[in-house]
């Protein structure tokens, strides 16, 4: 009896194992096919002039110059707004805020905000920044909107990183007579820096891929100039790709594929850096 139940448990174990491998394999296969398809279509299109040409109505002469410039300036302003507020909020909620019902309520809401569809943020940005605040279809409007979008991610990851710092380090610091701020700035932030940085980088890679909120706040598909200030109109790489995919000519589809490759490279690069930093930080604090 015992032997039989053992056997069947073993069989169940094997079946589940095969099932899990199939599921993993399927999702990997889809990813490989997608990337392979994009590479096949777009890789040949990538050359020097693709990076430095302005958009054009001839696909062979089109480039992503303004889209890249728009993406980076957008990213810069987004981070300038989101990083200080996000990190400070994370520190406040974890280290200063009292643990009462209100704090719990705020915590749940921030976690929920991280899961709100990005187009909702776009509509909020349109009402609040573009119309009410009168900032127009500018980089600033878009950066404020994206900042709202990534702030929950930054807050949550900052809190998680700070939470992971062992309490014994807090005790050691307070025991030495350090004030709360000295403890946070000299012990807790250095010890959790890798985790905070990982969260920041992951939020950047989310921000550069966003399209929907940018369309809603009015990013333009055709921008024949480089933005010079936060109030300028702009385009961004995802917008450019979106625009190209909606054109009928085969040449623009190739351009879109090439643009996607560039965007993917940036995303993978950022994720790679995040993983590297996390490992380095982990080694430093445990070894």
């Amino acid at each position: 009896m015992n032997r039989r139940s053992l056997l069947s448990a073993n069989a169940k174990d094997k079946i589940f194992n095969v099932f899990a491998i199939l599921c993993t394999g399927l999702s990997l296969l889809i990813l490989v096919v997608l990337i392979g398809d994009i590479l096949y279509k777009g890789l040949a299109r990538i050359n020097w002039s693709f990076f430095f040409n302005l958009p054009s109505r001839f696909p062979e002469q089109s480039g992503i110059y303004t889209a890249l410039a728009g993406m980076f300036s957008l990213l810069l302003f987004t981070l300038l707004i989101a990083l200080p507020i996000g990190i400070m909020s994370g520190i406040y909620l974890q280290e200063y805020g009292t643990k009462n019902k209100l704090a719990k309520f705020i915590e749940i809401n921030i976690s929920n905000l991280a899961g709100v569809p990005s187009v909702i943020y776009g509509i909020l940005g349109l009402t609040l920044f573009v119309r009410t605040a009168g900032l127009g279809n500018s980089i600033l409007s878009a950066a404020l909107t994206l900042a709202l979008l990534i702030m929950p991610v930054i807050i949550v990851s900052t809190r998680e990183a700070i939470k992971a710092v062992p309490n014994s380090l807090r005790e050691a610091s307070f025991g030495m007579g350090a004030t709360r701020w000295q403890t946070i700035s000299r012990v807790i932030i250095p010890a959790s820096f890798g985790g905070i940085l990982t969260g920041i980088i992951l939020s950047i890679s989310r921000a550069i891929g966003e399209t929907a909120p940018l369309i809603v706040v009015g990013a333009l598909a055709y921008v024949p100039f480089i933005p010079e200030g936060p109030m300028d109109q702009f385009t961004s790489l995802p917008i450019q790709i979106y625009n190209w995919t909606s054109r009928p000519q085969q040449g623009f589809v190739t351009n879109a594929a090439a643009g996607i490759i560039i965007l993917l490279v940036f995303t993978f690069l950022l994720n790679g850096i995040a993983i590297y930093l996390r490992n380095r930080w982990y080694k430093k604090t445990t070894a």
Partner: protein, 256 residues
Amino acid sequence: MENEFGLYKLMTKDFSLFYGPKQALKSVSIKISANTVTAFIGPSGCGKSTFLRSFNRMNDLIPNVTIKGELMIDDVDIYKNMIDVYAYRKKIGMVFQRPNPFPKTIFENVAFGLRINGEKSKQVLQEAVETALHQAALWDEVKDNLNKSAMALSGGQQQRLCIARAIAVKPSVLLMDEPASALDPISTAKIEQLIYELKSIYTIVIVTHNMQQAARVSDKTGFFYLGELIEYDNTDKIFTNPAKDATQNYITGRFG
């Protein structure tokens, strides 16, 4: 009254502490002289660590803690007067049960206390770190590796580093919460030797589960049970001829 207080470094009078509604310390009164080693013994949960942590107000970090009674250090009641708790803690060194060095270099660990006091001079820092490491009997082992991470040291070395970190700011009292309980016998012997040597400079209060250790290192011993200080006397007397049955039973291993 003034004179009586002046004789003692640490002193409590009817000191009680509550975690929410639960009373952890019941009217503890004790007088501890300067430059002595005092050991607190007793079964787990008897309040000895809580009492130790009261001396540098580490219990402030726990929500819902209330206290009653007096706790004086150098004739100052640290709970009644409007003292600056951060400045005050700098005068009281604390060593914890598990070694808890910061994930920084050995040098920066020891220099931490001076740095938060605003010390910037490289020479002053260097000298203070060296002195503290000498006092903690760690200098010879780490003098070539001051810029290596403290996390790379062994547990016993880490604990001596924590002692060096605590004494680098020249406190007058050193509180030790089971400082050797996570260490092997050789490291434990080193820590005990260190306690014996540091006695001439500091007033040391140590909590321990190890009764041989209490007998070896301390001048006076206090026995705690269920939040009360049952007996407090010279260590020799406690371990050879205790006045209370409860103490007798505990040190002979009949309960606890």
